[in-house]
């Protein structure tokens, strides 16, 4: 939540000092102090409709966060505003505080993704925090589908996303989490110290929809345990907020299966308070998980907007 009158990244700072999973890591980096210039990224993107098209009406940015302009590169939805999130430092380091604010006005349609994977470097002091607020007005449609998160060994990362979604709007929020650079070092697979990812959603009138807090602390809770990751390496988590009738049509079309031999598992459940669906995927490699997320995204787009997905980018 943004506190009135304070700097936008103050929420990230406050989160880092209040959550118990970071209590043991409050020391300052010997390099640049946490939360200083260059370590507090901020990006505010406001989308609005102009005629049939959605434009990027507001853009505020602060390094290392960067966005340039809306592109209209989706052949299937030519009025859809596409924005690539860029981090000029190319990764998250200890002491980084990032804040992202996405707002979609009445009927706006946007696709937000990142330029490349978010790498979170190993840490020996402090931690990295990211806060995101996503606000969707009536009939808005947002696909927020960033590239995967790659936590390196000894990374400490907390992310908090606050969603406020109107009953008629649709939000597709995808996150793909890799176990680390698993071919780089034997300790790299689930080598992060803390990865904490939370999403809380409400209606504009303040009614609670759902909350999810995923907490990965491999040293405390075994990752290879039955029911947790088993032999799977990559995890995809897709939250879909959409009206109930659309959610039911989508759920009807989405498959669910666990194929231990093929190394893939996926399925969707209904979120509480008629908020929509949550779709989860486990796989051995990122490509498998991305393909399943894309399949789900394709069904969502078709059922909600009537449009198909464009062919996948060759190098993404």
């Amino acid at each position: 939540m943004m506190v009135a009158g304070s700097l936008p990244w103050a929420a990230a700072e406050a989160l880092g000092t209040s959550v118990p999973e970071l209590a043991a890591y409050q020391d300052e980096p010997p390099q640049m102090k946490s939360g200083t210039i260059g370590k507090t990224g901020y990006l505010r993107l406001g989308f609005e409709t102009r005629g049939s098209r959605t434009i990027l009406a507001t853009l505020e940015r602060r390094v290392p966060y960067l966005a340039q302009r809306a592109l209209y590169c989706d052949q299937e939805m030519p009025d859809l505003a596409t924005v690539f999130l860029i981090t000029t430092t190319g990764c998250l380091l200890q002491g980084d505080r990032m804040a992202l604010d996405l707002q979609l006005g009445h009927g706006a349609q946007a696709h937000v993704t990142s330029q490349s994977a978010t790498k979170i470097h190993g840490m020996d002091a402090n931690y990295a925090v990211q806060t995101q607020t996503v606000t969707l007005a009536k009939d808005a449609y947002l696909e927020f589908v960033p590239e995967p998160i790659i936590p390196h060994r000894r990374a400490r990362f907390v992310s908090n996303t606050q969603v406020c979604v109107a009953p008629s709007a649709t939000l597709l929020l995808s996150e793909i989490l890799q176990p680390g650079r698993k071919h780089h070092h034997p300790d790299e697979c689930f080598g992060a110290t803390v990865v904490s990812l939370s999403v809380a959603a409400v209606r504009p009138d303040g009614r609670t929809l759902f909350t999810e807090k995923l907490m990965i602390e491999p040293e405390r809770f075994a990752m290879r345990q039955v029911g947790v990751m088993n032999a799977f390496d990559v995890f995809g988590n897709v939250i879909l907020c959409t009206p109930k009738d659309k959610a039911e049509r989508i759920l009807e079309r989405v498959e669910a299966d666990v194929r231990m031999a093929d190394g893939i598992a996926f399925g969707a459940c209904r979120l509480p308070n008629d908020a929509g669906l949550i779709y989860k995927v486990l796989g051995h490699n990122t490509a498998q998980v991305k393909a399943k997320v894309r399949e789900f995204w394709g069904i969502v787009r078709k059922e909600v907007t009537g449009a198909d997905l464009p062919p996948p980018f060759l190098w993404r």
Binding site: V19, P20, S196, S198, T208, L209, F210, T211, E212, K213, L214, M215, I216, F221, Q225, V226, G227, V228, M229, N230, F232, F235, N237, E255, A256, D257, V258, R259, M260, A265, F266, G267, A268, C269, R270, L271, P272, N273, I278, Y279, K280, V281, L282
Partner: protein, 235 residues
């Protein structure tokens, strides 16, 4: 010769056994907490994978519902119904699969009704009214906490009963779903009960907003169960 304090302890123990019994008639036998899909899909095949699966379930419960249970016990001791409603909503908002919600709400409501009937304490009546008026969902950890609080049974014991109940219901389902003996399931149950004390110490210090978890395969198994055509259990 038994003194007064021992007499109180003995009846308290009997009451805990009654309300913590896996056969307590609140419908727990109808739920497998994902084990049915896990067995069908080959994620649980023998006693050792059953132990690991059940351990995941009780760990998730301790990190999530267990924290709410402790908070609800404290709110119930203070007679704070508004706080109980808030905790109940927080539990419900974190149940991200349909069947997990159904289980929590059904068992919680039955448990509350049973408490009203057997104990009749004013707080139980007040909570039952809240559920009937739609002010509360009636989730199980909150129901258990109120029940124990009105009997002056400690939050520590309520937590133990909650954790034991999760393991016992999965292991009860295991006997009907897979090739495993009573000897094996009792061994698993005994082993998992040894972890309850440490899990309680952690939950007792946590805030409601600290409720968390991480068991993606369990959640996918729940999604598979929703789509399954032939089902013995309700989750």
């Amino acid at each position: 010769m038994a003194d007064a304090a021992t007499t109180v302890q003995v009846s308290a123990l009997a009451h805990m056994l009654q309300f913590g019994d896996s056969m307590f008639p609140i419908g727990g036998f109808a739920f497998s907490s994902g084990l049915e899909s896990a067995v069908q899909k080959g994620a649980v095949t023998d006693a050792s994978t059953l132990l690991a699966f059940t351990r995941t379930a009780v760990e998730q419960a301790a990190r999530g519902d267990g924290i709410a249970l402790v908070a609800a016990h404290r709110a119930a001791m203070a007679g704070d119904v508004t706080e109980l409603i808030r905790i109940d909503e927080a539990v419900y908002a974190r149940k991200l699969s349909d069947e997990a919600r159904t289980m929590s709400v059904r068992m919680g409501r039955k448990f509350t009704e049973m408490g009203v009937h057997v104990l009749g304490a004013p707080l139980l009546h007040a909570w039952h009214d809240c559920i009937r008026k739609g002010q509360g969902h009636g989730c199980y950890p909150v129901a258990l906490a109120i029940n124990f609080a009105v009997q002056a049974l400690s939050e520590r014991h309520a937590f133990a009963v909650h954790q034991y109940g999760i393991a016992a219901s999965i292991l009860g389902a295991a006997l009907r779903l897979m090739k495993v003996s009573h000897l094996d399931t009792q061994k698993v149950l005994y082993e998992l009960s040894g972890d309850i004390e440490t899990a309680y110490e952690r939950a007792a210090k946590a805030r409601l907003t600290d409720m968390s978890g991480y068991a993606p395969l369990m959640e996918i198994l729940a999604a598979v169960h929703i789509k399954a055509h032939v089902r013995l259990f309700m989750n």
